[in-house]
């Protein structure tokens, strides 16, 4: 990988991010009684999208917001402008990542629109988000934050609204834990504005749809498992190389499984929740391939997993896949609305680096260039540790970008034990494990889930 390219500047990036930051300060203060600095932030955002089809609507929205009279539709327009700006940042960063990995990305083809979504609950979500924008992060209190609870409760049972529900639930819990906003030492301005903007756009009917664009038949070679969680939701994504049976170019794909959860289900409990719903988790953990027949695949390279379309394949070591199959695979395209730097997660294979630990910070030095290693993202319920990463000689990871720089999230590493390479996967315990260290955590998680199910059985249906 050409790590040198990752450290180079990108034209226009600072200007786009400056407009984003200025708008994020607007949301920090809130739009109930806008101050001159906030009006400037709004004007700056409108100016940044002046050359786009959004120009007129955003200019009007900025004016209304600066006067303290913005309505729901105006807030949607502002969220769209911010999303468009970060979309352009995403595109520039993705192009840079493609240059560095030497792997081309896919072409986006818009799928047929999906099914209808209930309009009322989406409008209720929009209205809550507008209230947040008026309060500002510094003005949030329990009253305004608790407005999300009803919306989330209405959304959760509908699988078509799971995207919105998981986002709003995680966002609202974070805001609730941060109340009152006036007492906050510091505000995660970029993050909360991201979550707000995404939630706002996902209230537009059809925005969250990701229908299948085709079917996948062929061999799936797992690279590793990426886990994501907040208090009441968890998602595991398996990154893999898909080799079509018809001999077409191999593709980088993802397969996801997610579930809502009580906040006390953590650690090994997360795998226990997900494991029965995707046989691929066990395959990825054990180093096996899977054979797919007619598995639905979206235009973004997401397999819509169903065990009915998959069966167990031959053993396939992730490091062999990374060395042999990954370099020739094509990357997926990204849906227009999903273009955001935080979405960048490019599978990469690294070797020949020097690992350097400086306090909490770990870096890999490759051809004289430093790459930060985010070991904090390694799930606790797994055999991979920051120490193993620091001692590694090869690494399968996800190239990501946050707060101004690229970094790598390890999914698996090779270390040398008695002169032999030993692979350790972050998601090795995803499908279950015989590991002694894991057994205790598995047992504790089973017990916790059993208590909750017993309590639910006794109290829930009264």
């Amino acid at each position: 990988m050409r790590t040198d390219l990752l450290a180079d500047g990108i034209d226009g990036l600072d200007e786009a991010l400056a407009a984003v930051d200025a708008f994020d300060q607007v949301l920090t203060g809130g739009l109930l009684r806008p101050q001159p600095a906030q009006a400037a932030g709004l004007t700056g955002l409108a100016a940044a999208v002046a050359g786009t089809p959004l120009a007129a609507r955003v200019a009007e929205a900025a004016e209304k917001a600066a006067a303290g009279t913005a309505g729901d539709d105006h807030f949607v327009a502002l969220a769209a402008a911010r999303t468009a700006l970060l979309g352009s940042v995403h595109d520039a960063l993705t192009a840079r990542a493609e240059e560095a990995t030497g792997r081309p990305g896919g072409e986006w083809t818009a799928p047929e629109p999906g099914g209808q979504q209930p309009v009322n609950v989406l409008a209720a979500a929009r209205s809550w988000l507008s209230d947040l924008a008026r309060c500002g992060w510094r003005g949030i209190d329990h009253d305004v934050v608790s407005g999300a609870a009803q919306v989330v409760s209405a959304m959760l049972p509908d699988p078509a609204l799971r995207r919105q529900a998981a986002l709003l639930d995680g966002f609202a819990a974070e805001l609730a834990a941060s109340c009152p906003g006036a007492a906050l030492e510091r505000v995660p301005a970029r993050r909360w504005a991201d979550l707000w903007s995404r939630a706002m756009l996902l209230t537009l009917p059809g925005a969250a749809a990701a229908p299948p664009a085709g079917e996948a038949t062929g061999r799936l070679l797992p690279l590793g498992v990426d886990l994501q969680e907040h208090a009441t939701a968890v998602q595991a994504q398996v990154h893999a190389v898909f080799e079509p049976a018809d001999g077409a170019t191999a593709l980088l794909v993802r397969a996801s499984v997610s579930a809502p959860k009580p906040d006390t289900v953590v650690g090994a409990g997360l795998w226990q929740l997900l494991r029965p719903h995707m046989s691929l988790l066990a395959a990825a953990g054990e180093g096996r391939s899977m054979d797919l027949v007619g598995m639905p695949l979206t235009a973004e390279g997401d397999l819509l997993w169903s065990d009915a379309h998959a069966r167990q394949g031959e053993p396939a070591d992730a490091f062999s896949t990374a060395r042999v199959a990954l370099p020739t695979a094509t990357g997926p395209a990204t849906a227009p609305l999903d273009r955001h730097p935080a979405r960048i997660a490019v599978p990469v294979f690294l070797e020949g680096y020097t690992a350097q630990q400086d306090g909490e910070r770990l870096t890999f030095t490759l051809a004289g260039q430093q790459l930060a290693v985010d070991t904090d993202r390694i799930p606790a319920a797994g055999p991979l540790t920051p120490e193993a990463v620091a001692a590694s000689v090869a690494c399968i990871g996800l190239l990501r970008w946050d707060a101004g720089s690229f970094g790598v999230q390890p999914l698996a590493v090779e270390t040398t034990v008695r002169k032999r390479p030993v692979a350790v996967q972050a998601g090795a315990w995803a499908g279950g494990t015989a590991d002694k260290a894991a057994a205790k955590a598995e047992k504790a998680a089973t017990d916790a889930a059993a208590v909750l199910r017993e309590r639910a059985g006794r109290l829930l249906r009264k």
């Binding site: 699988p159 974070e174 979550l195 997610s258 006390t264 979206t298 904090d376 916790a448």
Partner: protein, 168 residues
């Protein structure tokens, strides 16, 4: 702006620390209170709904059938003690102290003991039973998460919620 303020994926709330749930299946810092549900030791059908308000430490404890707790007469009952203990396990003593706005000046480092001592020393008032119904319904809502079907459609927004090895 700092890197922290310009990060999309900073972890604002650390995940709950794993704990045994048999005695206290539910505890949360919400609605300006430490609140939760404590299973009765003698009757499997009965739970106690207990809470302590932030700042004033006004406390309440009653059963899910709205009968007053015999132990909460003028001071914290065993259920509230258990609730504080489990909250400290789940969230860490610092976060509980901060959320409840407890001044530990004369009581040492944040811990179950110091929290209990400092709040008791403030001679908090006993609240009415009105808090119990909403807390119990939040508990039921919490349990209902177990009944929601997992999905294999991707949730792109979960990219904003990475795990962290840091625990509460």
């Amino acid at each position: 702006m700092s890197d922290w303020e310009r990060s999309s994926t900073v972890r604002v709330v650390p995940p709950a620390h794993p704990r045994r749930l048999a005695k206290v299946p539910f505890v949360e810092l919400a609605d300006g209170r430490l609140q939760g549900v404590v299973s009765s030791g003698s009757d499997i059908e009965r739970v106690y709904v207990s809470s302590v308000s932030a700042g004033s430490f006004t406390f309440a404890c009653s059963t899910n059938n709205n009968r007053p707790c015999g132990g909460a007469r003028g001071y914290f009952c065993n259920h509230i003690r258990a609730l504080i203990g489990e909250a400290v396990l789940q969230y860490g003593a610092e976060r509980v102290t901060r959320y409840l706005r407890v001044d530990l000046a004369d009581h040492g480092e944040p811990s179950v003991l110091s929290l209990h001592a400092a709040m008791s020393a403030a001679r908090p008032a006993q609240g009415d039973r009105s808090a119990a119904a909403p807390v119990f319904s939040r508990f039921l809502r919490h349990l209902a998460y177990l009944e929601l079907a997992p999905t294999t459609a991707p949730l792109p927004e979960m990219q904003w919620f990475p795990p962290t090895r840091a625990v509460a």
